[in-house]
């Protein structure tokens, strides 16, 4: 019989040594640019993708803005110096020829997606999710395009959108996240390679969930995808995003930009399960996930809802935000962020209330274990004109182990007398009493911890679409079971 402590150590060991199960690397031929960033590389990216002149101009403007900017240092993160000239800014699976149907996709890529459990194959697509798969920098395959097209929904790689719907893209690209917004957004604007584009026409509710899966496969590359979602008046879309990467000793950079635009009465639900490779248990390797996500509730009565489950990445720097411009618009942010080993996360949201009677809700649950640092950082900004607005925020942190840190940095600015803002946060470890109670009922310590953590995160997990909720729950278990101390 092991003593309690030995048992805990054993469990903790099992958990921390758990392999990153998506850490395989596929042997697919890729075409890569030489490392480095300069105007020439940017011109080359633009050229290879046959982009119109205005896109190149956008990229170059962003590049010149980026050159003048400094990396943000305000986050509670220790970021090793990144040499942006050693990164490869473009890598794509070598094209055999233009893809017409799924049969023509490189079988090895298909195998990769199979391993990831992505329903890329339309034959087996019982789950009814339309997928846009981005492999390294290039969108490989988008499913269900035909069905969507019948309803006027556009769901395609952004490279295609630039080619086929230039006016739409031109109107909205950079309208929510300007190219000079911040260091990483500027970098993305300069070198973005692919990503997804979604357009929902007036009055259309997307009949299925749209999903993109991102995977960084090649070594030494950065991934810079760009997602643009536009929902016209009265439309609705639920969009899912998942990410994985192979196990590597070096750090890789992922700097994406996501822009959401919700017109009058429109609703966008954006869910992310982020499971980039977090590095090994010594903190070696892993993805730097420096992402700018922002939505705007442009029209009255519009709604944007962000849900994120963050379990991966060595360093996460991410603040999915909403600008509530339309009157009576609603924004929500639900987040579970789990850090273990040497992971660092500084994540949260910004709710900028401009319109009247706007409402926002923030539910953030942080869980830190191992030697990790987990911070919530959020802004609630109620402008003078946003009368009768309402914000409710809860930011809870759970600590597992005495080597980790959990931090909360809320910023609350209120500029009118008719709005109500409430913020509360707690930090604690799993309550001994709850554990005792569950164990009394015959659960072993592990299951008890699992049950408590799941219950703790439930409020957020409930917001995820079914398939993602299951995956997220599994991820939580992998990351945490038994790490009670």
């Amino acid at each position: 019989m092991l003593s309690k402590e030995e048992h805990q150590d054993k469990v903790l060991k099992e958990v921390t040594e758990q392999e990153y199960k998506y850490g395989f690397q596929s042997d697919i031929e890729t075409e890569k640019f030489p490392p480095g960033l300069n105007e020439e590389i940017i011109r080359k990216i633009s050229e290879i993708r046959q982009e119109p002149e205005w896109v190149l101009e956008f990229r170059l403007k962003a590049y010149h803005a980026w050159l003048k900017m400094e990396e943000p240092k305000w986050a509670h993160l220790v970021i090793p110096k990144i040499n942006f000239n050693e990164l490869i800014y473009y890598a794509k699976p070598k094209p055999k020829k233009k893809l017409e149907s799924l049969d023509e996709v490189d079988p090895e890529i298909l195998e990769v997606y199979e391993k990831l459990g992505i329903p890329l194959d339309e034959q087996k697509a019982l789950s009814g999710v339309a997928v846009d798969a981005v492999f390294d920098s290039v969108s490989v395959k988008t499913t269900f395009q035909k069905e969507l097209k019948e309803r006027g929904i556009i769901f395609c790689p952004i490279s295609e959108a630039i080619r086929d719907y230039p006016d739409l893209v031109k109107q909205y690209l950079g309208s929510v996240v300007p190219y000079s917004d911040n260091y990483y957004a500027a970098l993305n604007s300069a070198v973005f390679t692919d990503g997804s584009f979604v357009f929902i026409p007036k009055g259309v509710r997307s009949p299925m969930e749209l999903s993109s899966y991102f995977r960084i496969n090649s070594a030494g590359t950065g991934q810079f995808e760009r997602t643009l979602v536009i929902v016209e008046e009265g439309g609705y879309v639920s969009y899912l995003e998942g990410c994985t990467a192979p196990q590597r000793d070096e750090n890789q950079l992922h700097a994406a930009v996501v822009e959401l635009i919700a017109k009058k009465d429109a609703e966008i639900k954006y869910s992310t399960v982020q499971n980039w490779y977090p590095g090994d248990k010594e903190g070696k390797g892993g993805i730097f996930n420096f992402v700018t996500k922002r939505g705007i509730c442009k029209g009255n009565h519009s709604k944007i809802s962000w849900t994120q489950v963050e379990t991966g990445s060595a360093i996460t720097w991410k603040y999915p935000s909403t600008i509530l411009k339309g009157d009576n618009s609603i924004a929500e942010f639900y987040s579970v962020a789990v850090t273990n080993n040497h992971q660092q996360a500084d994540t949260g949201t910004k709710m900028i209330h401009i319109g009247k009677n706007t409402k926002s809700t923030i539910i953030s649950k942080g869980i830190s274990a191992g030697k990790s640092q987990n911070s919530y950082r959020g802004l609630v900004d109620i402008k003078r004109g946003a009368i009768n607005s309402r914000n409710y925020s809860v930011c809870d942190s759970l600590l597992m182990g005495d080597q980790c840190g959990a931090h909360t940095f809320p910023y609350i600015d209120v500029e009118n007398r008719s709005s109500i803002v409430e913020h509360e946060a707690t930090t604690s470890k799993i309550s001994e009493e709850q554990l005792f109670y569950l164990q009394q009922r015959g659960l072993d310590e592990e299951s008890a911890v699992n049950m408590i953590v799941n219950g703790y995160a439930k409020e957020v997990l409930n917001q995820l679409p079914m398939e993602f909720a299951v995956e997220a729950q599994k991820l939580l278990e992998i990351s945490l079971e038994g790490s009670v101390g």
Binding site: W74, H76, R384, I387, S397, L399, M400, G401, D402, Q403, C404, G405, A406, H407, T408, F409, P410, Y411, I412, D413, V414, E415, N416, R417, S418, S419, I420, V421, E422, H423, E424, A425, T426, T427, S428, K429, G485
Partner: protein
């Protein structure tokens, strides 16, 4: 007239280099050294700007409309005994700090308490002062502390030996310069083991001059000692006062503050407390009543460096007209500070659409067996409650006042000196009613019936 920040900075730098550095030749070496180091830092950094994280909501440019004369020597009266501060039925020792000077003699009291000017203390008890002086402020990165250390003219020193109980001190700080002035006051408070001290402080000013004042205090509360500090700030609406305190609190000690910000152009209180033992209790409470174009800031940092301690921050504000408030509270629980209980609460009422509040309740936690929480609310008066009160025949204005007054109750209830409760209530009522002006004498004088 220095209309820009650069000019004001240059003006201060020139004053230090050309004038002040000659006046401090006679000072003990450790003080001079601290001054020169701090001055160098100030010269390098200058005043805080909107780019500094903790100053993003506080624009110092609004202080640039005056020409501040650095006060080196100041004409002060022989005695301020006539400006008595009366807290009825409370026996206190009274001291006066006027324009950065200590008015009065150095006192060695029967119970062993040393009380007087910090400059005189440095001459009389150099070892004692040297042991503590600048130990905590030295680590500060706030330019206001550089300024204070470099340029303080004087301040008070208090040493309370072991076991002295119920020692009550009343401090009147008067900003009463004949011209617009830069005033820097520096204080040192040492409370030895098992001692118990109450401090009641009033910050007061004349009506017509702009003052740019810093007031830095280093506070050492030893094992099982207790310090309760009440402060009432009521200066004119042309003046700015930056009061920063740094404290070190040892095992089983209690450090309690309850500050009332009532009037002033810009009042900013920064309190840094370091908890260095078990079973320590640190409470920082504050009320800010802001109107016109006033701005009141509170920046609180409580560091739990040791296990098994308790801290609580409670700050409440009412903001009227174009008043601005800024609250930044931080709880830091270090790795070994297990079994920490730390709480933080900031509540605000905005009365107009021009008033602004920025609230930043931060938690930074590196230990797992802790219970920490924070909360922040911003809202307005409860309409239903107003309606209920008005139904009882009370006018709208009175109903509002009643509710606002009730909102402040939590802080008044936390006052531990019974004699202070009524005068404080009275002050708040007057302030809410718009009747409280700058007193010619001390604030609490206002409470004496005619």
């Amino acid at each position: 007239m220095p209309r820009t920040r650069k000019l004001l900075e240059q003006h201060i730098i020139d004053f230090f280099e050309n004038t002040f550095s000659k006046q401090i030749q006679e000072e003990p070496g450790f003080i001079r050294k601290a001054r020169i180091e701090a001055f160098q830092k100030f010269k390098e950094k200058g005043f805080p700007t909107l780019k500094d994280e903790k100053w993003r909501k506080t624009n110092l440019n609004r202080l640039l409309d005056s020409y501040y004369h650095p006060v080196a020597h100041s004409v002060i009266k022989d005695s301020y005994e006539n400006d008595i501060c009366i807290v009825p039925e409370l026996k206190t020792k009274n001291i006066y700090l006027v324009n950065g000077h200590y008015a009065g003699d150095f006192q060695e009291l029967e119970n062993g308490v040393l009380l007087g000017s910090i400059k005189q203390a440095a001459g009389k008890y150099p070892e004692l002062v040297q042991k503590y002086f600048n130990r905590l402020t030295e680590k500060s990165t706030n330019p206001m502390d550089y300024l204070n250390t470099a340029l303080f003219t004087d301040g008070f020193f208090m040493y309370v030996p072991e076991n002295v109980k119920n020692f009550n001190l009343q401090i009147s700080q008067k900003l009463d310069a004949p011209v617009d002035a830069l005033i820097n006051t520096r204080n040192l408070v040492i409370i030895e083991k098992d001692a118990q001290v109450n401090i009641i402080q009033c910050d007061d000013s004349n009506e017509h001059r702009s003052h740019f004042a810093t007031f830095d205090s280093e506070i050492f509360v030893k094992e099982n000692a207790e310090l309760n500090w009440y402060k009432y700030q009521n200066i004119n609406n042309l003046s700015a006062l930056f009061s920063n305190s740094f404290s070190e609190v040892k095992e089983k000690a209690r450090f309690y503050t309850n500050f009332y910000q009532l009037n002033g152009k810009l009042l900013r209180n920064e309190q840094f407390a370091d908890i260095l033992g078990k079973e320590v209790e640190v409470d920082h409470y504050g009320l800010y009543l802001v109107d016109k174009t006033q701005q009141f800031d509170n920046v609180i940092f409580i560091s739990h460096s040791s296990e098994g301690s308790y801290s609580n921050q409670k700050f409440k504000g009412i903001l009227d007209d174009s008043g601005k408030g800024f609250f930044n509270g931080q709880i830091l629980v270090k790795k070994d500070a297990q079994q920490t209980n730390a709480y933080q609460k900031n509540d605000n009422i905005l009365l107009t659409d021009k008033a602004k509040i920025s609230s930043q309740p931060f938690l930074e936690i590196y230990a797992d067996d802790v219970s920490c929480s924070h909360g922040s609310t911003t809202g307005q008066l409860d309409n239903e409650a107003l309606f209920y009160i008005r139904q009882r025949g009370i006018s709208k204005r009175d109903a509002q006042l009643l509710q606002l007054y009730a909102f402040t109750g939590e802080l008044i209830e936390a006052i531990k000196i019974p004699e202070l409760i009524e005068p404080t209530k009275d002050l708040i009522k007057k302030r809410l009613n718009g009747e409280l002006d700058v007193c010619e004498k001390c604030i609490l004088q206002c409470t004496v019936p005619n």
